[in-house]
């Protein structure tokens, strides 16, 4: 049987890493709504290796029928977990360690195999359960997301969750609509800007440098800050 994804495995073999990577690729394709087996084979071959697709089928983690692929057995859980670890690693590297550009991807690719699911959960809590990776891809929810009780004080949180008087530095804006994003940017709300929450209701009032900006709750909760 396979050990991939099992938290106790100290080090994974090269083939196991490849399989994890392939599962991640397939998860992304599925998330995009892409189900064609031929395309999946091609993409896995291009991004991971020629053998990986067949190996996943052999191990019963993947099935193909009518020219479409789908996960089987523990395949789906493993694929979700590896994607989560990869994207959370990206978030951590980008937001906390301020690593950008090509080394962000390279490091995240290493980390997805090293991190255990428990550590991924801790990162998720620390970062305030981020919804997307720095590239905008959705991070699959883990068990921790949505649960109220938290042992760890989150390092990152939505602007709307700061206490009045508290300060933060904007880490990223989690807005799906680019025109809204441009509006907030034009108010000086760009990554790196220091903000102070003045008031939380009826609208969120924020001091952005020398000016005062009122935002409705939904907008303020899409701005993720790192507490200062």
């Amino acid at each position: 049987m396979t050990y991939i994804g099992a938290a106790m495995t100290p080090l994974k073999s090269r083939i196991e890493e490849e399989l994890e990577q392939a599962l991640g690729v397939l998860w992304q394709m599925q998330a995009r709504g892409e189900a064609s087996e031929a395309k999946a084979r091609e993409e896995v071959a291009g991004r991971v290796s020629r053998e990986a697709f067949g190996a996943l089928m052999e191990r019963g983690l993947l099935k193909a029928a009518d020219g479409k692929f789908h996960f089987a057995g523990k395949g789906e859980t493993l694929a979700r977990d590896v994607t989560r670890r990869h994207l959370l690693a990206e978030r951590l590297l980008a937001d906390v360690l301020d690593i950008r550009g090509p080394s962000l991807d390279a490091n995240a690719c290493q980390w997805e195999h090293i991190l255990s699911n428990e550590v991924a959960t801790s990162i998720c809590v620390l970062l305030g359960h981020p919804k997307t990776c720095p590239h905008g891809e959705p991070i699959p929810d883990g068990d921790c997301c949505g649960s109220e009780a938290e042992a760890l004080e989150p390092l990152m949180c939505p602007l709307s969750a700061l206490e009045p008087g508290a300060e933060g530095r904007i880490a990223y804006l989690a807005l799906p609509d680019p025109s809204l994003l441009h509006r907030l940017m034009s108010l000086g709300l760009v990554p790196g800007t220091r903000v102070r929450l003045k008031q939380a209701s009826p609208a969120v009032i924020v001091q952005v440098e020398e000016s005062l900006v009122a935002l409705e709750f939904a907008l303020a909760s899409a701005i993720v800050v790192r507490r200062i």
């Binding site: 025109s179 441009h182 509006r183 940017m185 000086g188 209701s201 020398e210 009122a214």
Partner: protein
Amino acid sequence: MLLSESKTVATLRLALVGQPNVGKSVLFQALTGRYVTVSNYPGTTVEIARGVGDLGGRAWQVVDTPGIRSLLPRSEDEVATRNHLLEEPPDVLVQIADAKDLRRALRLTLELARLGRPMVLVLNLADEARARGLGVSVEKLTAALGFPVVETVAVTGEGVAELRRAIGAALPYAGPPADPPEVARALHSALRRLPADCPSPGVVAEMLLAGEPTMGRWLRRRFNGGAPIDCDDLRRPFHAGPEILLASSRRMLADEIAARASWRTGGAAPAWLDRLGMLLLQPAAGIAAAVVALLALYEFVGVFAATTAVNFIENTVFGAWLLPPVKAAFDAVLPPGWFRDMWVGDMGLITMGLTYALAIILPVVTAFFLFFSVLEDSGYLPRLSVLLDRLFRPLGLNGKAVFPMVLGLGCGTMATLTTRVLDTRRERLLVTLLIALAVPCSAQLGVVMGLLSGISAAGAGVWLAAILASFFSIGWAAGRLVPGGRVPFWIEIPPLRWPRADNILMKTQARVWWYLREAVPYFLAGTLAMFILDRTGGLRALETSLSPVVTGWLGLPREATFALVSGFLKRDYGAAGFYALARRGLLSPEQIVVSLVTLTLFLPCLAQFLLMIKERGARTAFAVAGVVTLVALGAGGATRAALAAIGGLP
């Protein structure tokens, strides 16, 4: 207009650009002597204004543009400003900025630098910056940017002479580039896809790379179609968008320049005005302030202007001093007959049209504009919009709708024009409808308050309840029927300022002139139409055909039909007609309330209707008119029935 006169003389063009609410229009006025409306809230300049100024012995064409926060536009007027800069590149670009927020100013400077035009940076509101303990070294800034920087206090004229001199010394930006290497490469690729004669290619390329949707349309229009220029492939490698990367790196560079050239002396505890400004954002204090403002409005406009001033002007100035000699003069020259009556008869242009316009309406409108200007300049309105945002949510609008609506309490026509400050077409349509329906203008309000003060407080309560019910129910229904979603609310909140008497007076004067130019011709045209209808028997026919509705459905006397019909021509004119009827004792208190409800909700005046056609299109304007007429008659009839059911007003 000024443009055509100036084109032959002024060969050099200067554009004033800057963030909203930093004093562009005041400086425009200082440079050209022309007045454009100036207020203490963002979005007052909704059109590009042009004037001619004498700078260093040469005539310059000076262009005032609507405020922009970034060259990446977020609303129609920001698109207008950006396109103007692309289409008519100025010889000198003067950026006006708020000296209190140097870093934000510099971020826009770094964006504008890409236009490649000679620039001057004006740090306006320098007095407010000094009061907060902020210091700036103009020399260090000039050295960092490579072009002149001037500190001004536009409202007092401080620094304007230096600005005139600096314009001659304008130079393009010569500071360090802000583009991160990967963005610079993508921009380079995007540049090569542009037509060879594209103006300001750097900015156009940046917009395309940022995925700004109006840029493609502009390019196709400008270069007569052609294949759309697609930069999606260049955009894709930047997962979060190249514009975020650019904005972040511009922010860092701007912070660095600001850190080198400015300092802060002492933490300066917030002044009491700043503390009051924060307090007004809290519901309890904010609502208390709104109640105080409403009471003050009632006392000043409703009681002082609409009663005391109108009585004096109508009865004494017109009734006793002006009209008798004018009538006598006409009687001396003209024989009795329709031509004499057209001027000084019961429905004469002078005795009725001009008297209504100048003696009843003008004092009320002037008082309102004066009051509104104080409110505007103080910076209170954005605070009100924060408090009222939730009230507008069920209507599918956000707090920004407060601006046109409060202005609508002054003049609905002006308010319809101001809906341009709203972000989407949907919001503009919804607000246009609500202003046409349930926001009474000051001329109407004056008459309404005058009439209501003659009956019980309960009557006023019934009127207010009927208007508010119509406002929210129709607003709620329209918010659901008009497609599109609500735009999330965000607004910049300017500091609370002491209104300046000279600015208030100038602004009130400009608005009153605008009103006289727009309203008086319609008053006179309306009077003439009524006169002709009356003489040809058309009025009688109209009254007869409408009287089932007026007497049957609304339960009003036959004579009220005249006021209602004239309300078609001008809503406040109709109100004034009812006023006259009530004074003659022809209406009971219940009938007064019913007619006021009908009239308040009734069709906007002719001027507002024409502007609706111009701004929203004929189809929309007629649809709005239809809805408004039905709702007005429906609510009037319902009020009558309700009053009858409870056995009249207590």
